[in-house]
Amino acid sequence: MLMELDPSTRRTLRRALRNRNIRVGGVIVAAFVLMGLLAPFIAPYDPTKGNLRDSLLPPCPKYPFGTDFAGRDILSRVIWGARTSLIVSTVSVFIAVVAGILVGGLSAYVGGWIDEVVTRIVDVMLSFPDILLALFVAAIVGPGLENVIVAVALYNFPQFVRIMRGSALQVKEMEYVEAARAIGESNASIFARYLLPNSLAPIVVHATLRTAASILTAAGLSFLGLGVQPPIPEWGQMMSDARTYLVTAPHVWVFPGIALFITVLGFNLLGDGLNDVLNPKMEV
């Protein structure tokens, strides 16, 4: 089931590459992903092993970003932190997207009371603002990396159900779908060939934006102490002790904060750019 690169897609791609938001955002996101993937090779030290005698050193040649209270190199921890955020955000968004597409698409396609029930449940889930749902899940399953992924996926899931469902409902009524059904095409095939591609644009945009939000939520949870646990490096977690070292060792929290900010910014830029390109509005 290849989607061939027809002229209109090629045009879209070219527009995409010319869009400045996509270029800048794309570079940042690419850097983030590379940092995460290559962490074991580019980090100068093991992020979980520190030399206590070297604790709280300000940035110096040996430790470019300084060290934390346990003597761990902050540069290495920032690099590995990208890996943690990468894993958490991509896995949870991926789960949410796949589950959302399946549930949303099927629910819209099947319609009837199933659709009603699903909509109700989604509404209820959406009535929890993200940190709250994450807190709720954390209260039940406890802190930890896997649990953060679950909590964040759970929050993102209803959003994708909604998008997919909205899209699917529109497409469902289209002529070519009726035609396809008339000639006896299987439901699965209709789903894959018509429903899916037409919803792709809003889903891709939203997935990018949600990745940004997921990184923030996961960092927030870890900042509170309910997310990723030490000594696993995570940007939010690295900032949770910030108050203690506010005055005496600001390098401990400034660098992870910058990393977090730039990464989220990159994803938002990318998402905005994709939105411009895929959902064009009239220029003023």
Binding site: T48, L52, R53, S55, G71, P231, R243, V247
Partner: protein, 525 residues
């Protein structure tokens, strides 16, 4: 033209109204928010780190609660800041030649805060409570040693011990020896929330997690208290406490982070008091954990930790490496020389025990003891360096205590190593050995489920030894304990108290109690 927007009139009015409403509400809120009270020079504001647990001195499990309790309640005797014993509700006393009978002559004219007179009957009523109520956390500080209490006359009372105890008066300095109004005891008053003592201050209000406010007791036997009140503010964040005392929002800050000491010493308005304490922070080892059965593993753990580095880098010099299960100031301390840093030997022991790659759980509270959480992470690093695999778990204090105090059969099977501190409010060795290492003290407070009959025997002997023979026994006990290592001593934290210049008679007792009951604002304060 189609009506594709709302009619201008409605939209305009509404938008305007919305903005106006928000602004008005914000202004009203700011206006109604409590105005800062003019600095009441006469109420002493103390910023502390955790809320108190209870106001019942016979049941109090933690030291912060004692800060407050020590203003409301008094005992027959109390410690001063050099750990000397001072008379309070007892004016003088005699000890019989055989060391078993203590005769106390009580202070006259003392009334409890509910008007009940303090006398020998009141003393007896308090000891009866300790004897009868088996749930009280602190009864075993005193009860196991006392045979009976006799009222001789209205102001004379005899305490007869089963065996002589050289440090009995020290034991009486513990909150377990504080006097509660017999009327309150009899009526079953909720003493956790409604204290009735003889002290210079009484409870005005306890707003949970926010503050505890005390007001003066006008009928105090020692004269009118010199403060208009004492307000203990619950401020969990260390930095916030420091800022409060720097900005004038608090008069005293307790548990100031060591990292701020240098800076605060430069401040001309503040006094910085860096003190020693008698607390030892241990890594407890669950003797019933299948993973910790081999003594060599426990010894390796002890050798793997660089205590000096922890004191220097995490405590920033406020404290000392532990040399024994007892702090150096305590009566009975003996330095066995066994607590060393030798990671090579540690690795060797691990190999011998076949424990490479052994996975152990390390539990720690956060913010309860100076440097606890940070030390736990550093310790995890040290242990991983000798070949163990450590899984760290951070606990909130309330649930940590609840879990650790569970009976062995109810306790979590995940309990391996856990960071916990202990400071004997009795100021001497009995207050450490008996609650922590005696078999009968499982689970309160023998948290490591240690049971060694030889140690039990030695402890009991030590309790009744005459003063000059005490170290003979305690030396043997410490040799055994530092070989078996049910509790691995790590460091002896110091404490830092910062207070406004001009405040007088504020004492820090090494049993980690800040005594505010005599404090007052001197001139220039």
């Amino acid at each position: 033209m189609s009506r594709n927007v709302a009619s201008p009139m409605n939209a305009k009015t509404l938008a305007l109204a919305a903005v106006v409403i928000i602004v008005v509400v914000a202004a009203a809120v700011l206006f109604m928010a409590p105005k800062p009270t003019p600095v009441e020079r006469k109420v002493l504001r103390v910023a502390m780190g955790t809320d108190i647990v209870t106001l019942d001195p016979h049941d109090v499990p933690d030291n912060p609660s004692i800060y407050v309790i020590s203003n409301i309640y008094e005992g027959l005797v109390e410690y001063d800041d050099k750990l000397n014993i001072k008379p309070v509700l007892a004016e003088k006393w005699e000890i019989s030649p055989d060391g078993k009978v203590y005769t106390f002559h009580l202070r006259k004219g003392v009334k409890f805060q509910d008007g009940t007179p303090f006398n020998a009957e009141a003393v007896k009523a308090n000891f009866d409570r300790l004897f009868n109520n088996k749930e009280l956390a602190n009864r075993n500080r005193l009860v196991p040693f006392i045979d009976r209490v006799e009222v001789v006359d209205e102001y004379t009372v005899k305490i007869i011990l089963k065996e002589p105890v050289a440090t009995f008066l020290n034991l009486l300095c513990h909150p377990a020896g504080m006097m509660i109004s017999p009327k309150a005891i009899k009526e079953g008053v909720d003493l956790k929330h409604h204290p009735v003592g003889t002290g210079p201050y009484k409870l005005k209000e306890w707003k949970p997690n926010t503050y505890i406010e005390l007001e003066p007791n006008p009928n105090y036997w020692g004269g009118t208290p010199k403060l208009a009140g004492i307000k203990f503010l619950v401020v969990p964040e260390d930095e916030a406490r420091v800022q409060m005392v720097e900005s004038g929002d608090a008069d005293v800050a307790i548990r100031v982070p060591a990292i701020d000491v240098q800076r605060l010493k430069q401040n001309p308005d503040l006094n910085v008091n860096v003190t020693r304490t008698i607390r030892i922070v241990y890594i407890g080892a669950n003797m019933r954990s299948p993973r910790l059965q081999d003594k060599r593993v426990r010894q390796a753990i002890s050798l793997a930790i660089d205590r000096e580095a922890i004191v220097e880098k995490i405590l920033h010099g406020v404290g000392r490496p532990a040399k024994s299960v007892l702090a150096e100031e305590l009566i009975g301390f003996y330095d066995t020389g066994k607590l060393k840093y030798d990671p090579e030997k540690a690795k060797q022991l691990i190999k011998e025990a076949g424990a490479e790659g052994l996975q152990l759980n390390l539990w720690t509270p956060k913010g309860r003891y100076p440097g606890d959480y940070e030390a736990a992470q550093a310790i995890a690093q040290y242990l991983e360096a000798i070949g163990l695999k450590i899984k760290l778990r951070v606990w909130e204090w309330g649930s940590y205590v609840a879990e650790l105090l569970k009976k062995p059969e109810d306790a979590s099977p995940d309990r391996d190593l856990f960071l916990i501190g202990w400071a004997p409010s009795t100021g001497e060795y009995i207050g450490v050995f008996r609650p922590l290492f005696l078999s009968e003290s499982i689970p309160k407070f023998n948290l490591w489920f240690y049971s060694n009959p030889k140690v039990d025997e030695l402890i009991k002997k030590a309790e009744h030894a005459p003063r000059d023979k005490i170290v003979e026994y305690t030396k043997q006990i410490q040799e055994i304990l530092l070989d078996d290592l049910p509790a691995i001593p790590i460091y002896n934290p110091g404490d830092v108290v910062v207070y406004k210049k001009g405040i007088k008679s504020l004492y820090y007792i090494p049993t980690e109690v800040i005594l505010t009951k005599y404090a007052y604002f001197g001139s220039g304060g």
